[in-house]
Symmetry: C2
Subunit: 343 residues, 2 copies
Amino acid sequence: MAHRFIEACFRRPVDRTPIWLMRQAGRYLPQYRAVREKVSFLQLCKTPDLAAEVTLQPVDVLGVDAAILFSDILVVPEAMGMELILEDQGPQFPQPLKNRSDVDRLHVPDVERELGYVTEAIRRVRKALANRVPLIGFCGAPWTLAAYMIEGRTSRGFEKAKAALMADERLAHALLSKISDALVGYLNAQLAAGAQALQIFDSWGGALGPEDYARFSAPYIARVIQSLHREGQPVIVFGVETGELLAQLAATGADVVGVDWRIPLDEARGRVGPAVALQGNLDPASLFLPLAEQRKRVARVLELADRAGAGHVFNLGHGILPTTPVENAKALVEQVHAHTPAR
Amino acid sequence: MAHRFIEACFRRPVDRTPIWLMRQAGRYLPQYRAVREKVSFLQLCKTPDLAAEVTLQPVDVLGVDAAILFSDILVVPEAMGMELILEDQGPQFPQPLKNRSDVDRLHVPDVERELGYVTEAIRRVRKALANRVPLIGFCGAPWTLAAYMIEGRTSRGFEKAKAALMADERLAHALLSKISDALVGYLNAQLAAGAQALQIFDSWGGALGPEDYARFSAPYIARVIQSLHREGQPVIVFGVETGELLAQLAATGADVVGVDWRIPLDEARGRVGPAVALQGNLDPASLFLPLAEQRKRVARVLELADRAGAGHVFNLGHGILPTTPVENAKALVEQVHAHTPAR
């Protein structure tokens, strides 16, 4: 059975526009909060039964066209040897990378041994889904992970990480290469376990100007994608604040480029060219509008997507916000499913 | 005497490219740190002698072509009635705006009585400068101030503020109008006290998509600019992550549009048109490069500025970072001053 979501990723015709939402397994869902009352965020990531349970929730509650594994991009640096604290005020590495010997001490994880909870969760989700909708696996992009690993915590512009990479380009490439090797093993294990699509999150890609993106991010994403053993699973690359970087994202070898809410989809199409599908890009804050206003915003995104042509997966321009009313999310999914995309 | 900085703002010919740096009076300077050892950030803003002293430091140390008053955009919300805490980990309003009655309680400040420390500092700086270089006054844009006032603290995307404004558009406009009225009085008082140019910082403009920017930010900036009593003082509008918003910024009535490091200046020129000067846009992290590499980056900005034409004020794409080596900042100023812009 051809899944609407997969078909759209490869720019093949679909009956209805497919939709899923970044962070769709999250705090806005009462069912998720009930699980989280019992365990920490990181424990939830590391308990395959529970991770699988929350992964399925939005499929049941909202009727989205894809599931995305509940996990976090920072479990990879943890498996590479860094202590990770995931708290509600944001992730922290208490001992961020400072020098070459810190980088040398990192190791490329043995996925089944050190990240086996992820592949096990994938197997359980696939079984529970029984092919109802496809399952998306994911990872962070090398630059985004490096930025967290150097900065130690979230930041507006990751200036410390940028300064460190700029001051020592050899160190930068040693770190980014090692992370890329870790991601290749990690994503290939996700594919082997049953992931039917992959998304690479370059959440902090927009902190880099275009010339630095071409040095520190895009080539490593391309290297990861080229090293995947795929059999028909599409790859989505998504970043935030990437208006000027979209052409580079499209050139990584991704099938789909995710677009944040800052740039209209028809503009984005002009920058990525015709060879990729687009994913996005409703502003997550739109789900706080009165419903009639929300509907206008959604219709506008669909209209621009039709104008942009060549494949569209509806999504938000960034993760769904924790205080989003569930009714608004449901209304969004219904409206998108009423739309037949222009050919 | 015509100042190089003012001439460039109005797109008139200059002998050398003028330069100043956002946050040029700041922690990277040992002279600044010596003053800050004695007083808090907010005390420094409110003590005209000390504010004037640190305002002058970068003119003496770096030889920049303009001074910018040492202050903070959040002193205006404080004067409107909100408690403000300015600490090193970022500003906070312990009691953020929650509803209509919170907005109604805000008042438009009597500038000489409630923000007189700002106008007094301007008078002292002007006297001390003796027309060596012009003095820039500034404020935050209405949306950026509203975002802080609702969110209560800094945030990646100011989602809470966006959601609040979207959920209640009448409240949004009541708040933004009141802030605009406060800013008109504030900036006119700065001009009367001797400010020779003004910069409006829409630091969080990029959190809004283009359609929301057209509703919640650009019209209020335009209203403020139109209400100024100017006699030859240029207005600069600057925002961060504004690649898709540049045309709107140029249409506010500003003489100069500040550009962050994410978009090359020749691209930016295509979006703003020929009727404004450009300010920017070296990535602040470039000042951590080895000097030879830094020089290449600076040369590249100058080259793109020449290609963009029609007026260029060199600046960073955002504020100078606190750990920047002073030697790198000095080398930057020297290199820019060696450049004669193309006509």
